[in-house]
């Protein structure tokens, strides 16, 4: 058993091997046969990873965590060590990652059965899996940064999967650049904390933070930098837009992204949480960003007509809750929320994906009336909703209630906010459910069958896992029914959300689409608080104008000056168009002059 634990670092390598093998089946290399073996190979490798991490999890269960380091390289006394923490938590995270990726990959066999880009697609999924598995056992801030940055590149490539499509191209670009902004601030934090703490090891950093005496302004700035990385990954305000645009990517990758990729940021956030105690401002910022994002994105989600986007914003909202949890030091609830999100958000995407796969449209206003013919997808969606919203006994409830209770004591205002967010979250999901499964069939939903078993099976398996999570948690002693009694208000807010949602969206009597009294407010939500425009007129516009300006300056001023200088010295090098030979002579002249000067100087002494 110990052998499995000692070799846990193999887990990321399995999928990397798979990713490498996939290249064989890229269409420019394998021409005579198709690309599907790439998928099968990767599914197999992921299965191995899942198996290995599960066995290791059983082995490490109940034991204390094991720490060890692998030296990467060392230069000028600076050791770059890959610190590994093997604990039930980190190995458990691996199991979740490999498990969801395993299901997502099988789902993709069905969903992408007509795609010819399997090699690239599966290689990238494997790449993500490897990165995330490595991140989960990584105990070093430096390597966490490295992995996040590499995954940013992965996002660019994965969103850019269908690169022929113009919105994919811009989506990939924006995803990359937005995440990169977060990563760079994180890098600044990584670079600047080292001279102070002398280590990048999370455990040592935590020890250091306990007794550190540092300039509060400096440490606040550093912490804000460290926060920015998770903010970008978790699509928090104001770096949230990329997730919307990333929805242009293939849907099976969205399962992985919404479920586990986005929460990588939260994972790192939890890791740096001990440092947050050094700065109250940083804590406040984390809470404020989380709260604003959670409330804002859940409202945006309600304004979306695109099925995938209606879900993606909820992931931002959920991550916002985790930011609040970490900011207030409620780490346990952060972990619970993260797991709920991994399973619930993944399941929701699978359920909607099964609809999109054969009803073509993603427009919620064009869907409807599918309950009788698509009950399996519908039930899975409902289970996913129960996995996210606070609906006891299902998994979503426990994380939320843990957060609610911890906030109730310290910051009652935020506790109320959690209630509101929960109600809105549930409302938005009921809305989607009502628009897709409720009502009467429309042109695009008149014919609709449950899709291929390769999609239905992983979906139902994941639904089963979501349903059984609370049991698992009870078994692990993570949750107790006592907390239900303490947070019944939360249930109330859920019921309000469901009730209101059902009243509006499962009611034939109310005409849809629902128009808010103010067109402006409606558009404000629909168009994502006009963030794209905001970006365009601020950062993007600024860089654009500034770069043109600088280039103009460069051409006409700096270069002009140089040319002027050139003209003065050699009487117009450009305009006179010397022959090659003529210029050569000129050069010889310069050389001779130089040497003459040299000789003159030397022999004068």
């Amino acid at each position: 058993m110990q052998a499995w634990i000692d070799t846990i670092w193999l887990v990321p390598l399995y999928s990397l091997v798979g990713a490498g093998l996939s290249l064989i089946w890229t269409p420019s290399i394998t021409r005579k046969t198709g690309p599907r073996p790439a998928g099968y190979v990767n599914i197999f490798m992921t299965f191995l990873a899942l198996l290995h991490s599960t066995i290791a999890l059983v082995g490490i269960w109940g034991k204390s965590s094991q720490l060890f380091s692998l030296l990467w390289f060392s230069v000028e006394g600076l050791d770059f060590t890959f610190d590994v923490e093997v604990s039930a938590l980190t190995v458990g995270a691996m199991v979740v990652i490999t498990g969801i990726n395993f299901l997502a990959q099988i789902y993709a066999v069905g969903y992408m059965e007509m795609d010819w880009g399997w090699a690239r697609f599966y290689a990238l999924l494997a790449f993500f899996e490897a990165g995330m598995c490595a991140l989960s056992i990584c105990d070093s801030l430096f390597f966490s940064y490295v992995i996040l940055e590499i995954l940013t590149l992965g996002t660019y490539l994965l969103v850019g999967m269908w690169y022929n499509q113009s919105l994919v191209v811009t989506g990939a670009r924006d995803a990359f650049l937005t995440k990169r902004v977060g990563d760079l601030l994180l890098l600044m934090g990584v670079v600047s904390i080292f001279p102070l703490a002398g280590t990048w090891n999370f455990h040592l950093l935590a020890d250091w933070a306990e007794k550190a005496e540092v300039n509060p302004v400096v440490i606040t700035l550093i912490l804000l930098g460290l926060l920015a990385g998770p903010m970008g990954k978790c699509a928090q305000f104001p770096l949230h837009l990329w997730l919307d645009e990333a929805m242009e990517g293939p849907l099976p990758s969205t399962i992985l992204r919404n479920g586990v990729v986005v929460p990588t940021g939260a994972w790192v956030l939890i890791k740096i949480h001990p440092l947050l105690q050094l700065s109250v401002v940083a804590q406040q910022v984390a809470i404020a960003i989380g709260a604003a994002t959670a409330l804002g994105t859940v409202l945006i989600a309600i304004g979306q007509i695109d099925a995938k986007r209606a879900l993606s914003y909820l992931v931002s909202a959920y991550m916002g809750l985790i930011f609040m949890a970490v900011g207030t030091g409620s780490i346990e609830s952060a972990y619970l929320l993260m797991l709920s999100n991994a399973l619930g958000a993944g399941l929701l995407v699978m359920a909607l994906g099964s609809i999109i796969s054969n009803n073509i449209t993603q427009d919620l206003t064009l869907l409807g009336g599918l309950w009788s013919r698509r009950p399996i997808s519908g039930l899975s969606f409902l289970v996913g909703m129960a996995g996210l919203g606070a609906l006891p006994p299902f998994s979503g409830f426990w994380g939320l209630s843990s957060l609610y209770q911890s906030l109730q004591a310290s910051r009652p205002g935020l506790a109320v906010l959690v209630l509101v967010i929960n109600a809105l979250l549930v409302f938005s999901l009921v809305r989607v459910f009502g628009l897709v499964w409720g009502g009467k069939p429309k042109q695009m939903t008149e014919r609709s069958v449950e899709p291929l078993w390769l999609m239905v099976l992983p979906m139902t398996v994941l639904a089963g896992v979501v349903l059984h999570t609370p049991q698992l948690w009870t078994g692990m002693g993570l949750i107790s029914w006592q907390s239900f009694a303490d947070s019944w208000v939360l249930l109330l807010s859920t019921l309000v959300g469901i009730g209101l949602g059902a009243y509006i969206y499962l009611n034939e009597g109310i005409a849809k689409p629902i128009a808010l009294p103010s067109r402006f407010i409606q558009d404000f939500f629909t168009y994502d608080f006009y963030t794209p425009q905001l970006y365009k007129f601020t950062v993007v516009g600024l860089v654009d104008i500034f770069s043109r300006l600088m280039y103009w300056f460069d051409r006409f001023f700096v270069d002009g000056l140089g040319n002027l200088f050139g003209i003065v010295t050699i009487l117009g090098g450009e305009s006179l168009k010397y022959s090659t030979f003529g210029q050569f002579q000129l050069y010889m002249l310069t050389m001779l002059l130089g040497v003459g000067l040299l000789v003159f100087l030397v022999f004068r002494t």
Binding site: W25, P27, R31, K32, T33, G34, P35, R36, P37, Y40, E113, M114, D115, W116, G117, R120, F121, M161, W162, Y163, N164, Q165, S166, L167, V168, M247, E248, P250, Q304, I305, D306, A307, K308, R309, I356, N358, N359, I360, T361, Q362, D363, L364, T365, L366, S372, R373, R374, P375, I376, Q443, M444, E446, R447, S448, V449, E450, W453, V456, T526, Y527
Partner: protein, 438 residues
């Protein structure tokens, strides 16, 4: 040596349509595809390369419709049993109802060889070929079926029939029989009957497409044989062969039956009088040649981007509009078909493609373009057949009749000139007029 075209005795003033030249060609009995030897060679070669995977498609479609039926985990639906490989095509062989192809009625020999050895050229178990993706891409055939299933109101009586009580009764009988020993599925059926009925409708559509292609396969094979014998003088000849074929087979019954434990269950009985032309061919052309659904690799499905039309009627992503250059990129489903045809290209086409662009390296795109040409020719045949069936002869002396013909042609070609959603830009009709598009 182009084949002779009709010179009408009564002449109309020249057309003012954007595709006037093509209209005039159609009015003289030509095809939308220019009549050149190169075009003839390309389209016939492609018909042959298409016919062989199609021989697999129709057999497997019928197998799925009749045997796999509602199997919840149809993991082996692409593994054709011997029975279906030997199933006699009704339009080929000695015992044909109407002998279109002079060859044999069982599965094509090149197909059988491919199934056995694949491109790996190895006699290894079928399962291995399957997992190595060294196989016919049935997914493409299923996608065509789904397009026909999802796009509604394309005419014919079958579509409304599938919503009738009679159909539901037939389906119910078959479903009960099929799941007789499976209490879980029966229980589910009790809970969600519509889910099963809908699956049954899809199975019906499998059958429809299978029966449709059962006809096209021998037609294409025969055309290839005639060409090899030197029979066609030009593109219009090839088109006219198709026109005649369409007429000859128009009355072929369309039905769906399921084989459960030694017994046939009629779901759509032959006695309903559903015909090949109205219930299969016209919807097929509409759904597959014109509409289908946007390739994910080229169009955004984002609802707010509004790239996907709100109305099924505005879908325009079929072969006639498809951009062939991204073939083999991610998200371009026709790649599956092109790969299937790639295995069966006649030697003269392989040699031909070697001479252009990147030769063997981009053959998939080159044959895709040829396929586009050949399907413009098939569409021309459908348009001409429609003209012959519902309108007037091209040499009709009555000018009013000729005007009706012209309106018909112009109306058909308007589908390629419509600026809505950029359909005019997407349509490849102008591109195929030139030999340089390849």
């Amino acid at each position: 040596m182009p084949s002779t075209l009709i010179e009408p005795t009564t002449k109309l003033p020249p057309s003012t349509h954007p595709f006037a030249e093509i209209i005039h060609r159609l009015e003289r009995g030509g095809s939308m595809l220019p009549d050149t030897e190169e075009n003839l060679m390309q389209i016939i070669g492609l018909y042959k390369a298409y016919a062989i995977p199609m021989d697999f498609y129709w057999r497997d479609l019928l197998y799925i419709a009749e045997r796999v039926f509602l199997d919840p985990v149809p993991a082996f639906k692409y593994f054709l049993p011997k029975e279906y490989l030997e199933l006699a095509n009704h339009y080929a062989g000695d015992n044909a109802d109407l002998r279109i192809w002079r060859g044999y009625a069982t599965a094509h020999k090149e197909l059988l060889e491919f199934i056995e050895k694949g491109e790996l050229k190895a006699r290894i178990p079928k399962l291995f070929h399957h997992f190595y993706h060294d196989r016919i891409n049935m997914e493409f055939a299923e996608e065509c079926m789904r397009a026909m299933f999802w796009h509604r109101n394309m005419g014919g009586l079958l579509e409304p029939y599938m919503d009738s009580a009679e159909y539901k009764q037939n389906a119910d009988r078959a479903i009960r029989a099929y799941f007789r020993d499976n209490p879980i599925m029966l229980g589910l059926y009790k809970l969600f009957p519509d889910m099963f009925i809908e699956q049954c409708r899809q199975a019906t559509m499998y059958s429809v497409l299978g029966l449709f292609w059962e006809v096209m396969c021998p037609v294409f094979l025969e055309m290839s044989d005639i060409y090899d014998e030197g029979g066609f003088k030009g593109v219009p000849d090839a088109m006219n062969f198709l026109v005649n074929g369409i007429f000859a087979i128009a009355g072929r019954p369309i039905y769906h039956r399921v084989y459960i434990r030694g017994e046939w269950y009629d779901i759509v009985p032959k006695s309903k009088g559903f015909t090949w032309l109205y219930e299969a061919a016209f919807p097929y052309v509409e759904a597959v040649f014109y509409r289908t659904s946007p390739f994910r690799g080229t169009k955004s499905y984002n609802a707010q981007a509004r790239e996907v039309p709100d109305d099924q009627n505005d879908f325009h992503y079929g072969i006639l509009y498809a951009d062939k250059f991204p073939v083999a990129s991610a998200g371009i489903p026709p790649t599956l078909l092109h790969q299937d045809m790639y295995h069966f290209l006649p030697q003269y086409l392989v040699d031909y493609y070697q001479k252009f662009c990147r030769g063997a390296d981009d053959m998939l795109i080159q044959l895709g373009v040829s396929f586009q040409r050949s399907m413009y020719n098939v569409t021309s045949a459908v348009i001409q057949a429609g003209r012959a069936a519902f309108l007037y002869p091209l040499d009709d002396p009555n000018p009013r009749h000729l005007w009706a013909n012209r309106y018909y042609f112009e109306g058909q070609l308007n589908r390629f000139a419509n600026p809505k959603y950029g359909m005019n830009k997407a349509a490849r009709i102008l591109a195929i007029q030139s030999q340089d598009y390849r």
